[in-house]
């Protein structure tokens, strides 16, 4: 049994476990599910404005191509440090937009091969970091936090550590 098969088992198993345990505790599972789901509708709808606001702003920034142009300018500086060039756009996009990072990773798979060093490195960066800005806006927006203090800096720092660790670990293992 490999890990992929294992992960398809987790959700059914989890749901079964929750329902069986609740029946054992004599809970009216259906009624509780319905009242919980009603709560979920309110929660789901209330996140839409934050989702919309962030997606519009991120896409406007991406479509202006300012990030690509900025990277071209940075190229001479970045090539001095020993960072594999093709993954730099990915590392920069990762905290901002999950879907465009996936597109960039796809490009690396197509251009360099999924089992190449760069392919493995891109996979590792993708798997070890997350869309920090998106998570921050959604979670803080949802509960009405306006002053997020140092949250973004620490979140971005964790992403940076993730990228550096990916480069080190992949170079070391493969």
């Amino acid at each position: 049994m490999n890990l992929v098969n294992l992960s398809t088992l987790i959700i059914p198993f989890l749901v079964a476990l929750i329902v069986i345990y609740a029946i054992y505790k004599k809970i009216n599972v259906y009624d509780v599910f319905i009242s919980g789901a009603k709560d979920g509708i309110e929660m789901g709808i209330s996140i839409f404005p934050y989702l919309l606001a962030m997606i519009v702003a991120i896409n406007v920034l991406l479509k202006s191509h300012i990030i690509e142009d900025f990277l071209v300018l940075l190229k001479p500086v970045l090539s001095c440090i020993k960072i594999p060039m093709p993954v730099i756009p990915m590392a920069i996009m990762r905290p901002i937009s999950g879907s465009s990072t996936l597109i960039l990773m796809n490009d690396i798979y197509v251009n360099y091969g999924v089992d190449s060093f760069l392919g493995k490195l891109a996979s590792t960066i993708q798997g070890s970091t997350d869309t920090t800005i998106y998570i921050l806006t959604l979670y803080f927006g949802f509960v009405g936090i306006k002053k997020i203090k140092y949250a973004m800096w620490v979140g971005l720092f964790a992403d940076l550590v993730g990228v550096i660790a990916s480069i080190l670990v992949v170079s070391w293992l493969f």
Partner: protein, 192 residues
């Protein structure tokens, strides 16, 4: 902060697009991305409703508290400001578990529930509490041992060994989480 980032993205995007003659693209994008946001919403909305319903069962039966008790040594260390046996521990632990197993879609409803209960403890309602920031750092560092999306994409591209990146991912994500949390501790101490 979010205020400034949002304005910065929009103003810079529109201005730069205008200066480089791409204003046409920007014009289309503003309308299109509203539709993109709706598509994304329609994907996650039913999943949120479903998981909040399932979670209600787990909470009612006491399973969520059980989970929180299991993880409590770790949680009380990471979140010293949350009172013992507070309900937010249950939501935080379930969020950690689904993230670790790579069930990203379920992580959002659990995470939002956790934020809501952390907000109840928060003294200044418009300012992020220390516990909230710690919780978000755990989420943004992408802690996971089953990176489902990456593995399925590698399979799609015909990788000879799609799962060989699991070990490097576990190592890198652990480093990101550990260093993120250490940084969070240090900054929290300084800024107090």
């Amino acid at each position: 902060m979010i205020n400034k980032i949002w304005a910065f993205f929009i103003i810079i995007g529109i201005l730069y697009g205008f200066l480089t003659g791409n204003i046409d693209l920007i014009n289309k994008e503003i309308i299109n991305s509203a539709k993109t946001a709706l598509d994304m919403f329609l994907t996650i909305f039913p999943i949120i409703v479903l998981w909040v319903g399932i979670m209600a069962i787990a909470k009612e039966s006491g399973l969520l508290d059980k989970l929180a008790k299991m993880l409590s040594p770790l949680l009380t260390f990471l979140f010293p400001e949350i009172p013992k046996n507070h309900e937010s521990f249950g939501f935080i632990s379930s969020n950690i578990i689904v993230n670790i197993f790579g069930l990203g879609s379920a992580a959002t409803p659990f995470g939002l529930k956790a934020m809501k209960s952390l907000q109840e403890l928060n003294q200044k309602k418009d300012t992020a509490s220390r516990s909230m920031i710690t919780f978000l750092v755990m989420n943004t560092s992408g802690l996971s041992i089953v990176p489902t999306t990456v593995i399925s994409l590698r399979m799609l591209h015909g990788s000879s060994n799609p799962t060989e990146v699991i070990l490097p991912i576990i190592l890198a994500t652990t480093a990101a989480t550990v260093f993120g949390l250490i940084m969070d501790r240090i900054v929290a101490k300084i800024k107090r």
